[in-house]
């Protein structure tokens, strides 16, 4: 139930309450965006029809590198 799927905001409705999220597999869905301050191009986590948090794209892309760094630093400590 707490499953949340990452997707990219590709449209924002005129009412600013909803937007279209592209899940990257050809699926696009309308989601409520009132709980986050988003702009087109942002990545969000979607749960039960609502965007609940913005995913930091830079940190997501660098996650594995950061893990590698943490793990290798642990050897030195």
């Amino acid at each position: 139930m707490c499953l949340a799927i990452p997707g990219k905001i590709v449209e924002i409705d005129k009412d600013k309450d909803h937007g279209i999220v592209d899940y990257g597999d050809g699926t696009k869905r309308k989601v409520n965006i009132t709980l986050v301050d988003v702009k087109i191009g942002d990545y969000v986590l979607v749960h039960a029809g609502f965007a609940i948090q913005i995913i930091d794209e830079k940190e997501a892309l660098e996650t594995l590198d950061l893990f590698r760094e943490i793990i290798s630093n642990s050897e030195e400590s």
């Binding site: 990452p6 709980l35 039960a48 609502f50 609940i52 997501a60 996650t63 893990f67």
Partner: protein
């Protein structure tokens, strides 16, 4: 969407965990974590490293009490349109489930989210529509958000929302098992941030790591917990930094606080857990199905409800036994014919165990 798989790194983390040569027990409280652990064989991999990881009360459908189920069944019987999530509909009550009532012709709707339930109310203005609002902090902001948006007068909720940190405290206070660390739920944490967990580490001297849902996330989280244990530390760390920040989602927290206040509440398998439930604030009680339909629900008022006979979901949810240790598991209780909610919900540990391990 983001590629987070790297076998070499995964092997490296496992080898580092193995080197510690530990004998530890961790608990997580999230069905999606359990899914990742079992689906990818991480639970047995960790077991080989001397680490047992059990699922606690981290499945909202599973911890919903028999009484709450009966309330919903009774409201359906009294002619309301009842709407809730798919998993909830199949949870057995004393004699029936919402699914079986639907098959009998009562108006039960499966919805993807609370906004869909509001749509049902808008399309059926002459009928009362009750949404069974289950879920932890991840889901509560949605319910709160629609209630602040002036939903139609024929819409109400049967509030079954719960909050996670008091349940963690309850697990430790009950003292039934010795735990060496908590893996905290990533998506609950996107909303509440880190602060709400801090008192647990301080008071009980127990490490906690907030984790994401990729296999590499859980490997890292477990390694981080083991490192804390080895160093004698007890703090809240955030492995899921790409989606969780210290403050959480302030907008979501504000709307929860606007609509709900905390209350003491029963969880399936637990005694009343102080401050673990949510109830509607006075201003929003016009949407409270328990107040609106008090007369309809009167017959349930003083009844004490037990779970299904022989079902050990309570023990599973308190982390005392694994699903396989329940005598009903895989025999009388299976996903086709579930006895308890842990076998119904796709986030329940019994359902996950059954699905992936080919029973």
């Amino acid at each position: 969407m983001f590629h987070l798989r790297d076998k070499k790194l995964a092997d490296e983390i496992v080898s580092k965990i193995k080197k510690f040569d530990v004998n530890l027990k961790f608990m997580h409280v999230c069905g999606t974590h359990q899914d990742t652990l079992v689906k990818h064989g991480l639970d047995s991999l960790f077991y080989d490293c001397g680490i047992k990881i059990g699922q606690g009360p981290g499945c909202p459908v599973c911890v919903t009490t028999p009484k709450e189920i009966e309330e919903m069944l009774l409201l359906a019987k009294k002619g309301k349109i009842v709407a809730t999530f798919g998993d909830m509909i199949r949870v057995p009550g004393l004699k029936k489930s919402l699914q079986s009532m639907k098959e009998e012709g009562f108006d039960v709707r499966t919805v993807y989210g609370v906004e869909d339930a509001v749509d049902v109310a808008l399309k059926n203005p002459k009928k009362d529509v009750v949404f069974m609002a289950v879920g932890f902090e991840t889901t509560t902001p949605m319910t709160a958000s629609v209630l602040t948006d002036n939903p139609p007068g024929n819409f109400s909720i049967l509030c079954c929302h719960r909050v996670i940190p008091p349940a963690l405290k309850a697990i430790l206070d009950m003292g039934e098992l010795k735990l060496d660390g908590f893996i905290e739920p990533g998506h609950v944490s996107t909303i509440i941030g880190l602060k709400k967990y801090e008192f647990i580490s301080k008071k009980y001297n127990i490490p906690q790591v907030i984790a994401g849902f990729e296999p590499i996330d859980l490997l890292m989280a477990v390694w981080m917990l083991v490192v804390q244990v080895q160093k004698g530390e007890a703090k809240v760390e955030n492995e899921y930094f790409r989606a969780v920040n210290y403050e959480g989602n302030v907008k979501a927290k504000n709307v929860i606080n606007e609509v709900f206040e905390v209350c003491d509440l029963n969880w399936r398998g637990f005694p009343v857990i102080p401050q673990s439930g949510l109830k509607l604030r006075e201003k929003f009680r016009i949407y409270d199905a328990r107040e609106l339909f008090e007369d309809d629900l009167e017959e349930l008022k003083d009844i004490k409800f037990d779970g299904p006979k022989g079902c050990l979901c309570g023990e599973v949810l308190r982390g005392l036994i694994s699903s396989k240790e329940c005598p009903l598991f895989g025999t009388k209780c299976n996903p086709e014919n579930p006895i308890g909610p842990c076998m119904v919900s796709s986030e329940g540990s019994c359902n996950i165990e059954f699905r992936y391990l080919n029973y």
